[in-house]
Symmetry: C3
Subunit: 108 residues, 3 copies
């Protein structure tokens, strides 16, 4: 069982649409946090040159990575600068706290 | 020296207990942030279906991972849905900013 | 193309200086979030023993890691406890949401 973590940094405006898309495809859990950042799109004319964004994190099985990445790309892309990015990182183990054991494939 | 990152996503209510448990066992540093998310426990009857949670991150040595994971499982588990999860990720290097050098094993 | 993620946990006070340093050297994107934590510096005499800190995350190419780490060390280090840490993690893939494709080296 190979595990991955998907991190997406997207504009706040796209968060609802991406969340709905992930729910619709049966993603079992997501973590959302508020971040600031700059990327392609910099706010040069603002005192605070960092834009507010949302970070979505998903721990999942390797086999599900491509379809989740695709769902985020489809629901978050507007084609303009500042759309954000998705990164895939390796994960070694996942434990479910409720059962105090390593998560099984069907739980992820 | 093999390095790991432990990420735990837990209900806010359990944060104090888990922090105390990590301190008691001598964990040298933790990072806590406020996140929202859904997992086993979804708030279907709320407009905001994401629950507030806490994310704890710990950079540590491979040899300490099992005992830290165990401490989090013991202090955070209530046995009901929504208890959250723990993930272990590989880390390649850790630098201590104060000394401007790579951290030694005794510093982690 | 080998990819890495650099995470720096630094005192809020150093954030402006580090951001400026990363911008000056041409880092193409950073993500900043608000965290709390303890490390070398514990606030034993406060009810809330966690200090407020900033987490900076940068997705980059392996070849750029050393210079970015160096820039953060130089701009963030004050030589006293609580200066924070930098960690380098492996990343497998990065996608650019605007183009719906994997990011090319020149985009990272």
């Amino acid at each position: 069982m190979e595990l991955k973590k998907i991190t997406a940094i997207i504009p706040n405006l796209q968060l609802g649409k991406v969340e709905q898309s992930l729910r619709d495809m049966g993603v079992k859990g997501i973590t959302v946090s508020h971040v600031k950042g700059y990327g392609e799109h910099k706010k040069f004319f603002s005192n605070d040159w960092l834009s507010s964004s949302s970070r979505i994190e998903i721990f999942t099985l390797k086999d599900k990575v491509d379809s989740i990445v695709q769902a985020i790309l489809e629901s978050a892309s507007t084609g303009v600068k500042g759309d954000g990015l998705i990164a895939v990182l390796p994960v070694e183990k996942i434990y479910r706290i409720r059962t105090k054991t390593e998560a099984t494939a069907s739980e992820i």
